[in-house]
Amino acid sequence: MLDRLNEIETTALESLDAVHDPDALEAWRVGNVGRSSPLMRVFGELGKLSKEERPVVGAAANRVKVALEAALTERAEAIKAAMLAKSLEEEQLDVTLPGREVQRGRLHPSTQQLRRVLDILADMGFQVYTSREVEEDEVNFQLLNFPLNHPARDMQDTFFIEAGERGDNPIVLRTHTSPGQIHAMRDAVRSAMDPKNPPPIRIALPGMCFRYEQITARSEIQFNQVEGLVVGKNITFADLKGTLIDFARRMFGQDVRTRFRASYFPFTEPSAEMDVECFVCGGKGCQVCKNSGWLEILGCGMVHPVVLQNGGYDPERYSGFAWGMGPERQLMLRYKIDDIRYFWGNDLRFLEQF
């Protein structure tokens, strides 16, 4: 009996070597450890053995069964691994084929840039203030210290709306977002508990502006502007510098170099232009910065006392600063866009690049 068991084991293990697929393995299982396999028959015949032989043969049969089952498991795992390896090898994609296109929605690049700017300003405590796009001359110019016929008006060529006889107060398409300064200050005064002590202001004014220009690669009739306005009781030119340099660091990188040049805007005094070191060439001189190493990024200044007064803030007690910048200009510099007409051309081939 024991010999038979040895033979069963040897034969079974030998035949297992030739098994390479799940079907053959199942057949082997049935034939070697199945109910009617020679091994199982040995168990069936145990009853016929003598009292002495029975435990010896039973133990031996059990040992063979465990051994065969272990071999079966091992073989099954090996076959599974081999099959997986085979299928992995066979299922090879040409990974260089293009991915299936997904239609992605996008914000217009100007909206994207406006958001970038407004997000930074929001972190700095500037709330968004929006106002109308068509304005009275008075709000767009006169209250901002552009008197009628002042040479400063030459700086902002203006579209006028036909509106009957309105004398010195025609209707204009706003040439800048600055009329919002007047609206915002007056709103704050109106809603103040004590109109003589209106609250401080810290706002960002985004929006579309218009200039009487020919539409060319370099000039447009409409463009976005974002303006910042701070009004308070202890606001200085040093605060203006600190705030704008902070902004520039967020916008253009922590290491950006800046410089302030004296300039002129009717609604600020002192006025300045802030340049940042050209972020395209690092100041070495390139096409974008016209070899100057600097990019004019924004105009700024202390709010002119006349403007504070017109907003309802006493310039003897309040001061403030304001600045303005163009998101489209920033995009043009950043992405080397050489034609401003792309922005309102709405060509998907342009828009889809953002």
Partner: protein, 866 residues
């Protein structure tokens, strides 16, 4: 304003300052240098990676190769009639140089010149501009044979040296030019092109720039002394002035110079004028221009004798007054101008002689009878003789000059220059304000230069009518003002010191600095405005770069945010998430463009459009988005939107600016790919699905859709109105075939939507979160047959109503029609989700279903489809 460095050096010692340092100082002080053009001075060379500072052009002149030389003899060329050979001495040796220059051609063959001609000589190897090339092309002088004569060097023209575009002849230097001196040392220059912002108009002159540079560097400002000798009858004896409107003409000054000889100005003067962008004419005209660039006062020179002739040989009387409407004047550009009463004229007793502050009259202009000589080519030249110009109608050249310097109302000049489209150097300055004090200084400077360059004799005195003196404000400033505005601590003495550099007169009393505005600037106001003006000057003089950077210490304002803006940004985000591309269109359009979609009679219309197709403010945002889609019609799939205002006109008032959202969908629903060959086209329900998502994203639950056939541009059977909380908020649907025809779209249907964002924003969201059930739902499908006329939404809402809160979801999954169902009928198949707090049995669900079916039978005649 173009400022040659050499000129600037007359008034401030620039020794040791590089051109770039000068430009940097000026730029930081608010006189932005746009470009530096080198004309002789050495150009900066940048090392690799070194930052540039300014846009730079031009050339430097090699000191060893380009020198002052003299022509001693002009010989004929053996083989070429039009060329000459020059015997030239360059300070070291004799040279033979070939030239075709017309301005010495007439000397050909005259033998040794009595007076050698001083020229700019470029030796072999010099790098100069190619005089014959179009534009500016650098070239190196090389040895070559021209018509059998060896040429290795040349006598240069202005173009070749980068001074001007002039290439008609060689440069003839002033007689005093020292032979052999490097030309760069003699007249090497660089020109700063400076932007003059409106409040810097006082600096549109070399003295102004020098003054600013002095303030910025601390170097002394060398103000010129204007001194000259006089002779003859005083001008006051022969000329008088009457000013009729001092508001328009606060001051008028006249000076007289007799016996001038009209001829070209000294070469150095011509060169400076050219570098400054002004064409030299003759010594008299040049003197007026030079004085204007020098001091800032535009001058006008009259031919005194023609004024005298007009006065019938009596004393000349000048009158300034407003023009009469329709009055005419021929200005010196030859145009006869019809004037209006807002123009101011300089007249004599016979009539107008000049359009004040803008342009002189032709009849009394300074006349140069030999003018043609200056421009002559050599065609009429004879040996040893200057060609004479044609005899003129006026006869002889001007010999006596009456020189005007005046002050005008800048607003009036600005309007006049615009009205007659006459931008000029004079009107540029006068329309920005020129201090009346400069009228006298300008005339004196002009007379001085004329005497110097023409040999004329200046008549004693000036006729000076000065009825309206400007107020030169005195402002009081304290240390605390500077602290409050600029955030820096300066003592009274420091403040006074900074302002004195700019010629403010300061007196300190206790803690006050009284600042008197110098009589050359009109930009300092009074009161707190004047204080702001002075503080700006303190800041500029101190240097913006020295002001520290601080963080605001002031209280934060009340937080109100901008709910409208934030909500719109949310709308944009939702649309982008749904795969739509945002576009931004021109606000300006034309009624014709919009009328393809929808016709309006009234528009907010521009009074000054740039083009007819951009002459009104849009009334339809959808028209804008459709145009954008049309432009991209070749794209296989278009899904775009715009959020923005439209403009509803209000008679004589500001238009309303309601906010709109418009969408356009057309083309393929999904992009094709290498293994996806076909895709269906966007239709009504693609857009509706997106709208549903947006409204859901905005947390609206009470949303209904109804057919609408009253929107002209929409297909009457494929159009819907959207209501939120019962209020209409927008329409959408397929573009009407007749509307679509007006656009260049492909075959695919164009699906559009137009929403009133203000109405939508005002709808209050009614959204609440439904708890997630933890017992399983019962799912069941039912199909009902109804008449075609029953809207699907009616069936769905009946199911929801009847099912109550147990029916949590009603999803239409099939719409089916066939003969078995019958004509005019459709089958609607819904999958229902029953959900309760406790586990539901099929029997529970069946009870509700039966109620639903009964209700549907009763209300819409539905039949359960088995």
């Amino acid at each position: 304003m173009k400022v040659p460095i050499s000129w600037l050096n007359d008034y401030i010692d620039l020794d040791g300052l590089s051109v770039e340092e000068i430009a940097r100082k000026l730029t930081l002080a608010g006189l932005e240098v746009d470009e530096i053009k080198y004309a002789g001075l050495p150009m900066p060379s940048y090392k690799e990676g070194e930052p540039h500072e300014f846009k730079t052009s031009g050339i430097g002149w090699d000191r060893d190769r380009i020198v002052v030389a003299e022509i001693r003899k002009v010989n004929p060329h053996p083989n070429a009639d039009r060329l000459t050979l020059l015997d030239l001495y360059d300070g070291q040796q004799d040279q033979t140089v070939l030239t075709g220059a017309p301005n010495i051609f007439h000397l050909k063959g005259t033998g040794r010149l009595e007076k050698p001609i001083k020229v700019a000589y470029a030796k072999e190897g010099s790098v100069i501009y190619d005089g014959h090339a179009a534009g500016l092309v650098l070239t190196t002088l090389k040895r070559a044979k021209i018509r059998g004569v060896e040429s290795y060097s040349m006598v240069a023209s202005e173009k070749e040296l980068g001074i001007s575009e002039e290439h008609e002849g060689i440069i003839v230097l002033d007689d005093a030019a020292p032979v052999g001196m490097p030309l760069a040392d003699y007249m090497g220059d660089a020109v700063l092109d400076i932007s003059i912002v409106p409040n810097m108009a006082r600096n549109a002159n070399v003295l102004g720039i020098a003054r600013e540079l002095s303030a910025a560097t601390g170097r002394p400002f060398k103000k010129p002394k204007i001194e000259y000798s006089t002779e003859g009858q005083p001008v006051n004896d022969v000329v008088s002035i009457e000013i009729q409107e001092p508001q328009l003409n606060p001051r008028f000054v006249l000076g007289l110079i007799r016996d001038v000889e009209i001829k070209p100005s000294p070469y150095q003067i011509q060169r400076r004028l050219r570098l400054a962008g002004i064409r030299p004419i003759n010594n008299i005209v040049d003197a007026t221009n030079y004085a204007m660039l020098d001091i800032g006062e535009p001058l006008h020179a009259f031919d005194y004798d023609s004024l005298k002739e007009r006065a019938g040989d009596k004393d000349v009387k000048i009158v300034t007054r407003s023009a009469k409407d329709g009055e005419k004047l021929t200005t010196l550009d030859g145009n006869t101008r019809t004037l209006t009463s807002s123009n101011v004229l300089v007249c004599d007793e016979k009539g107008p002689v000049s359009l004040a502050g803008v342009m002189g009259g032709a009849e009394t202009e300074v006349y140069d009878a030999s003018k043609e000589v200056l421009d002559a080519t050599s065609s009429e030249a004879k040996h040893g003789e200057l060609p004479r110009g044609k005899a003129s109608v006026r006869g002889t050249s001007t010999t006596n000059v009456l020189l005007e310097g005046a002050a005008w109302n800048f607003i009036n000049i600005r309007k006049t220059a615009k009205q007659h489209n006459l931008p000029s150097e004079a009107s540029f300055r006068f329309s920005r304000g020129v201090h009346p004090a400069l009228a006298e200084q300008g005339v004196r400077r002009g007379l001085q230069l004329m005497a110097e360059w023409s040999g004329g004799k200046i008549a004693p005195g000036l006729v000076d009518a000065y009825p309206l003196k400007p107020l030169d404000p005195i402002i009081t400033i304290r240390s605390r003002d500077v602290k409050r505005w600029l955030g820096i601590d300066l003592t009274e003495e420091e403040i006074a010191g900074l302002l004195t550099r700019l010629e403010f007169e300061c007196t300190i009393e206790n803690d006050c600095v009284d600042v008197r505005t110098p009589p050359h600037r009109l930009d300092i106001g009074q009161g707190i405005v004047g204080l702001a003006d002075i503080i700006e000057e303190v800041a500029r003089s101190y240097g913006y770069d020295r002001i520290p950077e601080t963080r605001m210490a002031d209280a934060l304002p009340p937080q109100v945010g901008n709910p409208v803006h934030e909500w719109e940004e949310h709308v944009r985000d939702l649309l982008v998430e749904l795969g739509l591309q945002e576009v931004v269109s021109y606000r300006l359009t034309s009624p014709e463009r919009e009328s393809r979609l929808v016709a309006y009679n009234e528009y907010a219309t521009l009074a000054n459009p740039i083009a007819p197709e951009r002459r009104v403010l849009r009334r339809s945002l959808l028209a804008s988005v459709l145009e954008a889609a049309e432009k991209n019609a070749r794209a296989e799939s278009i899904a775009m939107f715009e959020v923005g205002p439209i403009f509803e006109p209000v008679k004589n008032g500001l238009p309303n600016e309601p906010r709109r959202l418009s969408m356009v969908l057309t083309g393929l629903r999904y992009p094709t790919a290498w293994d996806v060959k076909e895709s269906s086209r966007f239709d009504f329900f693609d857009l509706k699905g997106r709208i549903e998502q947006v409204l859901e994203g905005l947390r609206y639950t009470d949303v209904s859709y109804s057919a609408i056939d009253s929107v002209n541009y929409l297909h009457p059977g494929k159009a819907a109105q959207v209501k939120v909380n019962g209020q209409p908020v927008g329409v959408f649907g397929e573009l009407h075939p007749l509307t679509k025809e007006k656009y260049e779209f492909g075959e695919a249907p164009v699906i559009v939507a137009d929403f009133d964002l203000d109405a939508l924003r005002k709808a209050t969201p009614t959204y609440e979160v439904v708890p997630v059930a933890d017992v399983p739902p019962v799912l069941e499908d039912i199909a009902v047959i109804v008449d075609e006329s029953v809207p699907a939404e009616r069936v769905a809402s009946l199911i929801k109503q009847t099912g109550g809160k147990t029916v949590t979801q009603v999803r239409l999954f099939d719409v089916y029609r066939d003969e078995k169902i019958g004509a005019g009928k459709k089958s609607l198949a819904y999958s229902l989700t029953y959900q309760s707090d406790k586990t539901m049995t099929d029997a529970d669900a069946a009870a509700i279903r039966n109620k639903i079916i009964k209700r549907l039978e009763h209300e819409v005649g539905a039949k359960l489809r088995s």
